[in-house]
C-alpha cells in the first residue's frame, strides 16, 4: 500500500520548489505564491502523519491543517495588501529594486 515515505518525499519536493521560487523569482507576487506552496507542503505532512498515526480518532491532524489553512489565507491577504502598498511606492513589482532597508 502507500508507504508514508512517498508522501513525505512529495511534500519535501513541493517545499523545495516553493523555496526555490522564493529565492529565485524577482516578482513579489510570485514569491508570495511560493510561500503559499511551502505552507501547503506542510499541510500535506500534517495530514499524512495524522493518517498513519495509530490512533487517528483524535483528529488532531485535520484540525491543525484547518487552522493552518486559515492562517495561510490571512497571511496571503496581508501579503498582497503589502504588495499593493509597496507597488504604489516603487511603481514596480521587482523585489530587487526594494532596497530601502539598506542604510546608506
Amino acid at each position: 500500500m502507500l508507504p508514508l515515505e512517498y508522501i513525505l518525499i512529495l511534500s519535501a519536493v513541493l517545499f523545495f520548489i516553493g523555496l526555490a521560487g522564493v529565492l529565485i523569482r524577482r516578482h513579489v507576487i510570485i514569491m508570495l505564491i511560493c510561500i503559499e506552496m511551502m505552507l501547503n507542503a506542510a499541510n500535506i505532512n500534517f495530514i499524512a502523519f495524522w493518517r498513519y498515526n495509530p490512533n487517528p480518532e483524535l483528529h488532531l491532524g485535520p484540525l491543525f491543517t484547518l487552522f493552518s489553512i486559515a492562517v495561510g489565507g490571512a497571511e496571503a491577504a496581508v501579503g498582497l495588501g503589502l504588495v499593493i502598498a509597496v507597488y504604489r511606492f516603487y511603481n514596480t513589482a521587482n523585489a530587487d529594486k526594494f532596497d530601502m532597508l539598506k542604510d546608506s
Binding site: L23, F98, D99
Partner: protein
C-alpha cells in the same frame, strides 16, 4: 600545733607598705622612714613569736595553699618554720630595722626619700619572702623581687650614669645566676612533680628521697646533686662567688644604707641561705660539697688579695664581703648548715656595722670615699671610730669577738674535712686581718689628708652603729649560751675541739694585725705611695685593678654577646634585603605586566589591532545588508541549513 599563718604577714607587711609609699609625694618629710621602721619592727615582733614557737616544737611546721591549678596538677606555695627560718628572720629584721633607722637620717636631705623607702620596703618584703617560703618557686620569685629591689636601690641616684650601669650590671649578673636556679627548679619540678620543701604528707622535695632516687643522672652527679648544683649556680650569682662576683663591688654606687643592708647583711646572704635551706640535696654527693668548699676558698683568697689593693673604703668592704661569703660557702661545704649559718649571722652584724660606720665616715667627710684622702678620723669622729674598730676586730676574728667564734667553727670544720682547704682559708683570714688593719690605719690614724673638715654624724646614725658594735663584740658569747650552734643544726655533726686549730686562728688574727701595723705604720703612709706597691713585677698593679676581671669579662662574654647581636642583626638585614629584592621583583613584574602586558600586548596589539582587523573585515558583513529581501531570505535559509546540519552532526557524535 600552733598555726603559723601569721608568717604570711612577715613578707606581706612591707609589701603593702611599699605599695602605700609608692603613692606618697616624693619628699614627705620623716613619715616615710618612720612607717618603714615601724613595719620592720612589727616583722621583728612576729619573728620573735616565730622563734618562740620554733624553740618549743622540734620539727618543721608548714602551711601550704594552691597557687596555680594546671591540668590536674596544682603548684602550691606556703610558709615553713624551722630553726633556719627563725634565726634568719631574727637577724634580718633586727639588722634591717637598725639600718632603716640609720637610713632615715642618712637620706635626710635627698628629695626622693619616700621612693627610696618604698624600694627598701620592697626589698624587705622580697628578702623575708625568701626566708619564709616553703616552695622553691616562691623562693625564686622573691629571689627575683630582691634582685629587682637591689637594681632599683643601686640605681637610686640614676642621674649618675655609673650608678645606672652598676644597677644594670648587678641585675644582669644575678639574672645569669637566676637562669641556673630556674633550670634547677624546672629539673626538680620535672622529676618530683612538686616544688614544696616540706609537706605534711612527707612528699616535699627535701623530705622524701624522690630526687636522690636515680644516682647517675648527669655525668656522675645524682639527680638531687644536679639540682643542688644548679641551685648553687643561682647562689653564686646572688652571693657574688668567683665567676659572678663582678657586680658586687660596683654595687657600691648605691647609697651606703643600701650597701649595708643588701650587700652586707641580707641579700648576699640569700645565696648562702638557699644552699643551707636545700642542704639535704647537697648532702648526697661529697664531691659536690668539695667543689663548693674549693670554690668558696678560691673566692675568699681572690677577694682578700684584691681588697688589699683597693682605695675606696666601700670597695674594700665589698671585697671583704665577697671573701667572707666565700668563707661561709667553705663552712657549708666542709662542716654543714650550722657552720655556714653561724658565720652568716655573726658576719651580718659586724659587716653591717662596718658599712654603717663607713657610711657615717663618708657622711662626715662630705662624700669622700677614698681612704688616701682620709686619716686621723678617730680624733674627730671618736664614737664611729671606736665602733668601727670593734667591727674590724670582730671581722679579723680577734679572740672572743663574735667573728672569732664563727670563724673558729669553720676552721675546725675545714681542718677535719680537708687540710688543703684549711691552709688556704687560714691564709685568707690572715689577709683579711691584713687589709682591715691597713684600712683602719689609713682612715683612723695619722693626720687628716683630705681638704674637708670631718664632723661627727648625727645621733640617729650613731645609735644603730653602737648597738651593732655591742653585738659584734658580745655576739659570740650570746650565741654560745643560747646554744645557737646546736639550735641551727640539731642533727648535724659537731666538730670536736682541736688545739692546733685554735692556735692557728689566734696566730692568723693577731699576726695579720701586727704585720698590718708594721706595713702601714702611719709614718710610712705619709709618703703617699702604698707600701705594698713595691711588690715585684706589678702584682700590686694587678691587685689594684681587680685583676682586670671586668675587662676580661667585657672582652670575652661582652664581645660574644655583641657578636651574637651583630650576627642576628646582619641576618635580619640579609632577610630584609631579600624582602626588598622580592618586593622590587614583584613591583617590576607588576610594571612589566602593566607595560608589556597591558600597554603593548593587550592595549596596543590586543585591543587596537583587533579593532582594526574587525573594521577591515566588517565590510564583508555589511555587504550582506544589500537591502534585497531575496538576499536576506537566502541568508535565512543558509542559517536554517547550517542549524540542521550541526544538530545532525552533534546527534551523530552522541555527546
Amino acid at each position: 600545733m600552733p598555726s603559723i599563718t601569721f608568717l604570711y604577714w612577715i613578707p606581706l607587711l612591707p609589701l603593702v607598705m611599699a605599695g602605700l609609699l609608692a603613692f606618697f609625694k616624693p619628699n614627705a618629710k620623716r613619715v616615710a622612714s618612720f612607717l618603714t621602721v615601724a613595719t620592720l619592727l612589727a616583722c621583728f615582733f612576729f619573728s620573735v613569736k616565730a622563734y618562740l614557737i620554733d624553740i618549743e616544737i622540734e620539727k618543721t611546721l608548714t602551711h601550704n595553699f594552691a597557687w596555680m591549678h594546671v591540668g590536674g596538677k596544682s603548684i602550691e606555695f606556703g610558709v615553713a618554720l624551722n630553726s633556719l627560718t627563725s634565726s634568719m628572720l631574727l637577724m634580718v629584721c633586727f639588722v634591717g630595722s637598725l639600718i632603716f633607722i640609720y637610713a632615715g637620717s642618712y637620706m635626710q636631705d635627698d628629695e626622693r626619700k619616700t621612693r627610696f623607702f618604698c624600694y627598701l620596703n620592697l626589698f624587705a618584703a622580697g628578702m623575708l619572702g625568701i626566708i619564709v617560703s616553703n616552695s622553691l618557686l616562691m623562693l625564686f620569685m622573691c629571689w627575683e623581687i630582691v634582685g629587682l629591689a637591689s637594681y632599683l636601690l643601686i640605681g637610686f641616684w640614676y642621674h649618675k650614669p655609673s650608678a645606672a650601669a652598676a644597677a644594670q650590671k648587678a641585675f644582669i649578673t644575678t639574672r645569669i645566676g637566676d637562669m641556673g636556679f630556674l633550670i634547677g627548679i624546672l629539673l626538680a619540678f620535672k622529676y618530683s612533680g612538686t616544688l614544696l620543701f616540706y609537706t605534711d604528707g612527707g612528699t616535699g622535695l627535701l623530705q622524701s628521697g624522690i630526687l636522690s632516687a636515680n644516682t647517675n643522672y648527669f655525668c656522675g652527679l645524682s639527680l638531687s646533686a644536679t639540682v643542688a648544683l644548679l641551685l648553687f649556680i643561682g647562689a653564686i650569682g646572688k652571693s657574688g662567688q668567683l665567676p659572678l662576683h663582678v657586680w658586687l663591688p660596683d654595687a657600691m654606687e648605691g647609697p651606703t644604707p643600701v650597701s649595708a643592708l643588701i650587700h652586707a647583711a641580707t641579700m648576699v646572704a640569700a645565696g648562702v641561705f638557699l644552699v643551707a635551706r636545700t642542704f639535704v640535696l647537697f648532702e648526697g654527693s661529697p664531691c659536690l660539697l668539695n667543689g663548693i668548699a674549693w670554690l668558696g676558698s678560691a673566692t675568699m683568697l681572690f677577694a682578700a688579695v684584691t681588697a688589699l689593693g683597693q682605695y675606696d673604703i666601700k670597695r674594700i668592704l665589698a671585697y671583704s664581703t665577697v671573701s667572707q661569703l666565700g668563707f661561709m660557702m667553705v663552712g657549708l661545704g666542709t662542716g654543714g648548715v650550722a657552720f655556714g649559718m653561724f658565720h652568716l649571722l655573726t658576719h651580718a652584724f659586724f659587716k653591717a656595722l662596718l658599712f654603717l660606720g663607713a657610711g657615717s665616715l663618708i657622711h662626715g667627710c662630705h662624700h669622700e670615699q677614698d681612704i688616701r684622702k682620709m686619716g686621723g678620723l678617730l680624733r674627730t669622729m671618736p664614737l664611729t671610730g671606736y665602733a668601727y674598730l670593734a667591727g674590724m676586730l670582730s671581722l679579723c676574728a680577734f679572740p672572743f669577738t663574735a667573728g672569732y667564734f664563727s670563724k673558729d667553727m669553720i676552721l675546725l670544720g675545714a681542718w677535719e674535712h680537708n687540710k688543703a682547704i684549711f691552709a688556704v682559708v687560714a691564709f685568707s683570714s690572715f689577709l683579711t686581718a691584713l687589709y682591715m688593719t691597713r684600712q683602719c690605719l689609713y682612715v683612723f690614724f695619722g693626720n687628716y689628708r683630705g681638704h674637708h673638715h670631718p664632723h661627727e654624724s648625727p645621733f640617729q646614725m650613731i645609735l644603730p652603729i653602737l648597738i651593732l658594735a655591742v653585738f659584734a663584740i658580745g655576739g659570740g658569747f650570746f650565741a654560745e649560751n643560747i646554744h645557737l650552734f646546736t639550735f641551727l643544726n640539731p642533727v648535724g655533726k659537731h666538730a670536736e675541739h682541736n688545739q692546733t686549730v685554735v692556735f692557728v686562728s689566734w696566730g692568723v688574727a693577731l699576726g695579720g694585725m701586727l704585720i698590718g701595723y708594721l706595713f702601714y705604720h702611719p709614718i710610712r703612709l705619709r709618703s703617699g705611695k702604698d707600701p705594698l706597691a713595691c711588690l715585684p713585677f706589678g702584682i700590686y698593679k694587678l691587685m689594684e685593678n681587680r685583676f682586670y676581671i671586668d675587662e676580661i669579662y667585657a672582652f670575652t662574654v661582652g664581645n660574644i654577646w655583641k657578636a651574637a647581636g651583630i650576627v642576628c642583626y646582619l641576618f635580619e638585614e640579609l632577610l630584609i634585603v631579600i624582602k626588598v629584592i622580592t618586593e622590587a621583583l614583584v613591583n617590576k613584574l607588576a610594571r612589566l605586566c602593566a607595560n608589556f602586558g597591558d600597554n603593548t600586548l593587550i592595549v596596543n596589539y590586543g585591543f587596537d589591532n583587533t579593532c582594526e582587523m574587525i573594521k577591515r573585515r566588517a565590510h564583508l558583513v555589511t555587504a550582506i545588508q544589500t537591502g534585497q529581501v531575496a538576499a536576506y531570505l537566502r541568508i535565512t535559509t543558509l542559517g536554517a541549513l547550517l542549524f540542521v546540519l550541526t544538530f545532525w552532526i552533534l546527534l551523530k557524535i552522541k555527546i
